[in-house]
Amino acid sequence: MTLSIIITAIVTILAAATAMSLRNLVHSVLALAVAFAGIAAFYLQLDAQFVGFAEILVYVGAVAILIVFAILLTRSGEAPDQSVLGPGWFYGIIVSALVFTAIGWAILNSSALPTEVPVASDATVKHIGEALMTKYVLPLEIIGLVLTAAMIGAVLIALREVSTAGGSRRESAPSENLSGLTSTATNSSLGGKA
């Protein structure tokens, strides 16, 4: 079990590092999908089958495809000419290395970590569903509300702006629409009178 977990960890971390360092964004999302699949393999080896398959469904299936769509919609599919790293990237890498050193030191020297491995519980989908419907029913409802609000908000944010002749922005679009509506209304009423 330990060897397979080490192999999974190496594959996952290599894929994540590749995703973060490639210049071409589409390639980097492909590497990211490999990293997500590696994390799902982690979950499967840790006896969390439901979460493992949910990871594949949500991340490899939905989030990676969503990111590919965003890349294609923003026309950033090909690698840029200039540097892909922002200013001050050196300090960013140093800070992240410090973070990893601190966490790794704490993990390796902590005496609070449990050493004996408990028996795996049978966390089947039935048990998870029962817990979701009894003990965690309020968080479930709230997360449904949050997801609905986030989806509506995402659609509203990404809505195509109404382009008018002068290239005016979203603020002027409703008034433009309104004036158009009223003018057509007056026209039709006039036509009706005539």
């Binding site: 996952t12 991340y59 922002g86 790794g104 390796l108 966390a123």
Partner: protein
């Protein structure tokens, strides 16, 4: 080294990689990818502590990961919608050129 420590070290390394990417890269979508990696590292920690903790039958870690996945999905959708909106407005998704929220 126990299996729990291997999982925690892998998750710490994933977090560091995601953090480095989110801080150093210029493209807005890469920053979002880095944030997703950091969230996944935290989820991996939850699962590892749930599996090797004293009470695996309580399903607490599993529930936390399920809800955190839903929140990460909402965050990714809203973040990518923001990137698309900024691209429409400024014709760029390079974070160095997006310095103000005002259009």
């Amino acid at each position: 080294m126990t299996t729990l420590q291997i999982c925690l070290l892998a998750s710490a390394l994933l977090f560091a990689i995601g953090f480095a990417g989110a801080v150093t890269r210029r493209h807005a979508i890469l920053v979002l990818i880095g944030i997703e990696l950091m969230l996944n590292a935290a989820n991996l920690n939850f699962i590892a502590f749930w599996r090797f903790g004293p009470h695996p039958e309580m399903l607490t870690g599993l529930m936390f990961v399920i809800f955190s996945m839903a929140l990460a999905g909402a965050e990714a959708a809203v973040g990518l919608a923001l990137v698309i909106a900024i691209y429409r407005h400024k014709k760029t998704s390079n974070l160095d050129e997006v310095k103000e929220l005002k259009g």
